[in-house]
């Protein structure tokens, strides 16, 4: 038990660089998995995803003083990652498609399966790799919205901020992205004999 006249000296205060590092590790580095998953879906290959994440972390560490501590580090990091992707990677990895998103007609899967499989049991038979492959084939605007929502569980508001689009656009893109993906997964399930039916 400590006595009043024998208080231990206070521990030496940490150097600023250690504090910066500790803060960065606590708030930013913990999101490495998220950044990697998003980078992988944006670039479409592991080597570029590695480089993109690395570059994002370097940029974030340099700009760490501008980040308001304790707010939304994940959103802040994803914004940096997306800008780096658009400016430096998209040109050489994937080309922004000239796709008219309005012409992509979602297929009504539920109408096809409601008699035979209204509970969607066929989904269980589709493995991770196949789902990711189909996500990678979506137009970029659909893909990034769907990844932030369904892979990373972000709110419409957070997604709108990262993608710099209105919340209403997030809603409509997410609706159509999910429907298009669902139609393609259904086609795949039919082609594999997981479910009876006619491909779209």
């Amino acid at each position: 038990m400590a006595t009043p006249n024998k208080t231990p000296p206070p521990p030496p205060s940490p150097a600023p660089v250690d504090e910066k590092r500790a803060g960065f590790e606590r708030e930013a580095l913990v999101h490495l998995d998220v950044l990697y998953r998003v980078a992988l879906r944006l670039t479409g290959n592991a080597a570029d995803a590695d480089d993109l994440v690395q570059e994002t972390m370097l940029k974030a560490y340099r700009a760490w003083d501008q980040y308001e501590k304790g707010t939304n580090a994940k959103g802040w990091l994803l914004t940096i990652l997306r800008h780096a992707f658009i400016n430096e990677y998209r040109r050489r990895t994937r080309h922004p498609e000239n796709v008219d998103l309005d012409t992509i007609e979602p297929f009504a899967v539920f109408g096809e399966v409601q008699d035979d499989d209204p509970q969607g049991a066929f989904f269980d038979k589709i493995v991770d790799d196949e789902v990711l492959r189909e996500i990678d084939k979506l137009p970029e605007a659909f893909r990034e919205t769907l990844v932030l929502s369904d892979v990373e569980g972000m709110s419409y508001q957070e997604i709108a901020k990262i993608l710099e689009i209105p919340v209403g656009t997030v809603k409509s893109r997410l609706f159509r992205a999910r429907k298009v993906l669902q139609g393609r997964l259904y086609d795949y399930a039919v082609s594999q004999g997981y479910i009876k039916g006619t491909p779209a």
Binding site: R21, F24, L29, L32, D33, L35, Y36, R37, L40, A46, D50, V53, Q54, M57, L58, Y61, F110, V113, Q114, P118, Q119, G120, F123, D124, I126, V127, D128, V131, L132, I135, V147, S149, D150, V151, E152, G153, S155, Y156, K171, L174, F175, R178, L181, Q182
Partner: protein
């Protein structure tokens, strides 16, 4: 609320992003309309499936080491 309006907002509802008024209208419609209820259940299964399939992958250990090395020189 009719079926078309209800289905239009199904993801907002399932994502818990609907306003309280919209959520109330949808719940009321679903109680009165079993086919829409079935469709909502199907879509909920689909979203759960997507999350389960896509969230398993993490950053490779080598990338973690590379980031630490680059940032802190270790």
């Amino acid at each position: 609320m009719n079926c078309r309006e209800c289905v239009e907002h199904l993801y907002e509802f399932l994502d818990r992003e609907a306003t309280p008024e919209l959520e109330r209208d949808i719940r009321q419609h679903l109680e009165e309309c079993p086919p829409c209820g079935e469709q909502f259940d199907f879509e909920a299964v689909y979203l759960k499936f997507l999350r389960a399939r896509c969230r398993t992958q993490g950053a490779p250990e080598e990338l973690k080491r590379r980031v630490l090395r680059e940032l802190f020189g270790e």
